[in-house]
Amino acid sequence: MKKAFRVFFKDLQEHSGPYGLLASVIVGMLTILPLYQPNYLTARIQLEFVFNLNLITLMAIPHWLLAREKEKKTILILRTLPISARQMLLGKFLAAFAMSEGIYLASLVSSFFMLKFALHMEMVATPSRVVFLNLALLAFLSVVLASFTRFTPRIAVIVPFGCLLLLVLAWISIKKHLNSRGISIEPALTSLMNSSLFPLMAVLCFILVVVTAFRLSERYIEAHHAADLVL
């Protein structure tokens, strides 16, 4: 674990400079701007945008952490140190998560700032939403990480977002198909989401995604020639 943390701290140290600056500039601007919006809807949209800012960073963070390391060949440093593929991935994963959380927390600050000073603003960051988004963030980051392990940077960026898009499209078409046959899945979904087992199932699903993506990356790294590794 100590070795994984060393990789984690190295990544934070290496990338916190530009990221910290980017985050503070964006959050600073977006925190102040909605206060000048007299229109509730415009302010609300901006608030939503600030809160979901981490989605934008998802694409950039693994790129910085993995593609650049591969590009500069420094991945060979990690591969020749006495550190296992698992420890290395764990360090990278933690760093990606911490950086996303940094932006995420900054957007929360913005949210609370808005709630304090803007009138008639409703709470965007409900606890369940924060937990759900964090779990989704973890799962998505692990998929992005696995994707960067296996593919070239460009494809690696496309793959997880492509998968997400396919998932959404599949969901819409299934729903449409069922609706055309007069079957509504809304009641079933609502009852499922209201069930006490739902949070547990959601957590298990996310863990499954994280572990699967993690194991895939690990096995890929162990099975392939270091120099040929996309990572």
């Binding site: 100590k2 070795k3 420094t74 440093i77 020749t80 006495p82 099975a223």
Partner: protein
Amino acid sequence: MDKGAAQAREGPANSMATALRINGLTKRYQDFALENFNLSLQEGSCVGLIGENGAGKSTLIKSILGLVRLDGGQVQLFGGGSIIEGSDLIREHVGYVPEDQILYEWMTIRQTIKFYSAFYRSWDLQRSTQLLRLFHLTENQKVAHLSKGMKVKLLLVLALSHQPSVLLLDEPTGGLDPLAKDELIDYLEQIRKDQPRLAILISSHILSDIEVLATEIAILREGRLILWDQKEVLRRSHKVIHWHSPETSMVGRLIAAPFVIGSAYENGILKLLVSVPGAEGQRTLEELAGKGAQVVDATVGEIYLGLMRHKIRP
């Protein structure tokens, strides 16, 4: 069977303890294979690994470091009376200097040392400070501002500070200017004196470096070890003959002789590389010496080039 091939399988006679043993190592790629490869490094030895591009030198080093999954065989390291297997454990006891001087450019030397030291249980901070002083490197220098030669020195500090039993050098002098190269070779010689039990495997295209540093020579061709012996034994058993204005009647016979492994005829001078002359060869050598031919010990470069040009079957 070719004597060189037999020698390659057995290796040189050595009384020192084994530091690293590669046993039947096999790694197959689509167009290349390292087949049933055996090599061992004795404590205090320095094995010079020579071969053409694609001969398998890098694959061998990567196999030792556990960076490739082997198709067969094993790599064993002997440390503190026990056998160490498994890539993570082996990397803990092996120092490695990569070919491309890869380092985190944004770090300072101090940060680099701090980063590396976290991964090794046996990191000796005193040793790293001592080596930095020896190489005239200061901790506050930024890696990005170091010259190629200084980067190699820093890599050596990193490779030696965890007190490895084996040091792997992959083309350490590649891309260095002659002055930096000479300086590095001097340092490597000094390190060998300071750490007499350290086993070194040096892979290089620069034969003059191998000539100076290596105590044993291992020649690879197409994934096979075609020759492996002590440098001095090799040099004594290979001779170079320079014969000015040779007798035409003898030239054809000499070139066809089984002990002649390389020949060239330029500007009236016949140059022959001969290997381990037996009784017949010895007689021929004496005869040639009597006719005014110069017979000298071959250099590693001459032996290597002679073997490679003639593509002797292992």
